[in-house]
């Protein structure tokens, strides 16, 4: 047997420039859509308004979907009950905001933001605890069986919606935005809603924070590795079940945060609002690539922009625009825009 160490050139060294750029192509999708929208929409002010609106909607969907994509990627769990956390988050957040009426009604940005922070905190705590209970009682017995997961998580969603009826009643609740977040600012002749700008900022902060956790911390490393090969993560000495539970709780809490954001966006909440958003959430999770936070972010922004542009350009097409987008993206990249390699 030869003793000399050979020099093995990895495949990467032989990749062409186009092959190297291929994985980054989805990143260009959002700016490309924005440019396309600019040429398709006659009025620049309308285009700017629609773009901000689309980005805000996309950011909110991202906040909701990011937890779900990680839960699916890491635990291989299809959680149809994710919508329950959105609804509960919205109701808890709205209750806090209504209770802090003097703060939300005051013409002070600081007081308004403090009230929103309190609502978000309460919503995230409640949905986080709900997530823990959901994982223990509903999801844990059905790990590994997708059909059972769909059935029991749908059941969990129905129970949660009924609980909302019991606690808050069967009627919808109107929630006004805090005083300083009402109305719009004018920029380049376009009316940009203040709340939507805030939503874009919050979504961006959540994305950057999630990315930093996933890329720069040990727990992020474990989660990323666990998405690919949970068995090997265990064999390296990490308790993957504990990581599962932590991700489920974090994902539920993020859905709660998204619920509060969506409630203030729509200014009206119902028990089944979470269920309604789930269609968009599923589209985002699928086109982003199951388990990919970056893919989820690009997918959510794409869905938000397409929905808004389509609704303006051809309202009848708005209903099918996102389904058409999903079909197109899956034909281009069957595993989603940022595919996550699974060892299973």
């Amino acid at each position: 047997m030869s003793e000399s160490a050979p020099t093995h050139a990895p495949k990467m060294a032989t990749l062409s420039l186009s092959d190297r750029l291929k994985p980054w192509l989805p990143l260009l999708l959002v700016p490309a859509l924005i440019v396309l929208g600019y040429f398709a929409i006659d009025s620049t002010s309308s285009w700017l308004t629609l773009t901000v609106s689309g980005l805000a909607m996309g950011m909110m969907i991202f906040v909701i979907a990011s937890g779900m994509t990680l839960v699916f990627g890491l635990m291989d769990v299809i959680n149809f009950g994710h919508g329950a956390f959105i609804s509960f988050g919205a109701f808890v957040g709205t209750s806090v905001l209504l209770a802090l009426g003097t703060m939300t009604g005051a013409p002070s940005l600081m007081l308004n933001l403090l009230a929103i922070a309190a609502a978000v905190l309460a919503a995230m705590i409640v949905t986080g605890v709900m997530g823990l209970a959901f994982e223990r009682v509903i999801v844990r017995p059905v790990y590994g069986s997708h059909l059972k997961q769909i059935l029991v998580t749908m059941g969990g969603l129905i129970v949660a919606e009924q609980l909302i009826y019991v606690i808050w009643g069967g009627h919808e609740i109107v929630i006004a935005r805090p005083e300083t977040l009402k109305g719009a600012i004018t920029f380049a002749g376009a009316a940009l809603e203040k709340y939507r700008l805030l939503a874009v900022g919050v979504g961006l902060v959540v994305f950057l924070a999630l990315r930093a956790v996933m890329r720069r911390t040990k727990i992020g490393l474990i989660v990323r590795a666990g998405v690919e090969n949970p068995e090997m993560v265990q064999a390296l000495g990490y308790n993957i079940t504990r990581v599962f539970v932590g991700v489920f709780i974090a994902g539920s809490a993020l859905a709660g945060l998204g619920g509060v954001m969506w409630a203030l966006y729509q200014e009206i909440i119902t028990a089944h609002m979470g269920n309604e958003i789930m269609i968009l959430v599923f589209i985002v999770v699928i086109i982003g690539g199951l388990g990919s936070v970056e893919g989820c972010f690009i997918g959510a922004l794409t869905v938000g922009l397409v929905q808004n542009y389509a609704a303006f350009l051809e309202p009848k097409l708005a209903l099918i625009s996102n389904i058409a987008l999903m079909v197109a993206i899956l034909m281009w990249r069957p595993m989603g825009m940022v595919p996550v390699i699974k060892a299973k």
Partner: protein, 259 residues
């Protein structure tokens, strides 16, 4: 290869402080089922402290299942597994790993989306790899230093296997379970791996290794356990098996020329 590794605890590859006479691993009548299939039908053998024990046998004999059962990835429904005299039956793979078993699976188990550095960092349970150990890894597998920041998914098959071995040895372990490290690799890469594993052995590590390549098994092995149809059919010294071609043919269906 670096000689800078000291043999003191934390930086060497020695197998703990338990009495030399006590086998590091004992399997007693272990039976494992995978779904409705009975794979291991009462496997009993011991792995002595220090050196390389080769687990040999035909395809489907139950070698990989044995390693996975020791690692806790399959649960035995009967029998006992003792590491350093303590039962590890019923422990999770994470608990077993933390008791001191390093595992190199048959499929290498590389995290393709993570860089080489991240793969190694993840394996270092204490947080950061021990610098001396890292130097040994770079000495044994220079390619890992070259592609330290590259995604592991872009490495060649041989480099992935090197990374898989490096990941197992980055921490102090009582025992290394290595499943077919030469599988599908070019002879030159097998030679690199063999050299590294031999160095590991010379530094006092205990290895239980599954291998189909008998030349490699003979070059590295001290003790042999041969399996067939989920049972142990022979145990003994590698020198004995190596010298007896009739025995090899009877146990493993081998017909080979000796160097």
């Amino acid at each position: 290869m670096s000689d800078a590794i000291s043999e003191k605890a934390g930086t060497g590859f020695s197998s703990g402080n338990a009495p030399e006479s006590l086998p590091i691993l004992q399997l007693k009548d272990v039976k494992t089922d995978i779904y409705q299939y009975h794979i291991l039908h009462g496997v009993s053998f011991e792995v002595p402290r220090g050196g390389v024990t080769m687990l040999l046998g035909r395809n489907g004999a139950g070698k990989t299942t044995t390693l996975r059962t020791i690692m806790g990835l399959w649960k035995p429904h009967a029998g006992e597994i003792l590491l350093d005299g303590a039962h590890i039956n019923g422990l999770t793979p994470a608990q077993i790993a933390r008791r001191g078993i390093g595992f190199v699976p048959e499929d290498m188990g590389i995290f393709s989306d993570l860089s080489v550095e991240e793969n190694i960092r993840l394996a270092a349970l204490s947080g950061q790899p021990i610098p001396e150990r890292l130097e040994w890894i770079f000495g044994a597998f220079p390619a890992l230093r070259t592609f330290w920041k590259s995604p592991a998914g872009t490495l060649s098959g041989g480099q992935k296997q090197m990374l898989s071995v490096a990941r197992a040895v980055v921490e102090d372990r009582e025992l290394y379970l290595i499943d077919e490290p030469s599988k599908g690799l070019a002879p030159a890469i097998v030679a690199t791996l063999a050299k590294a594993l031999k160095d590991l052995k010379n530094r006092g590590a205990t290895i239980l290794m599954v291998e189909q390549n008998f030349s490699l098994a003979r070059a590295l092995g001290d003790h042999v356990v041969v399996m067939d149809d989920g049972r142990i059919v022979w145990t003994g010294a590698m020198a004995e098996l190596s010298a007896d071609t009739a025995l090899q043919e009877r146990l493993m269906g081998l017909k080979m020329e000796h160097a």
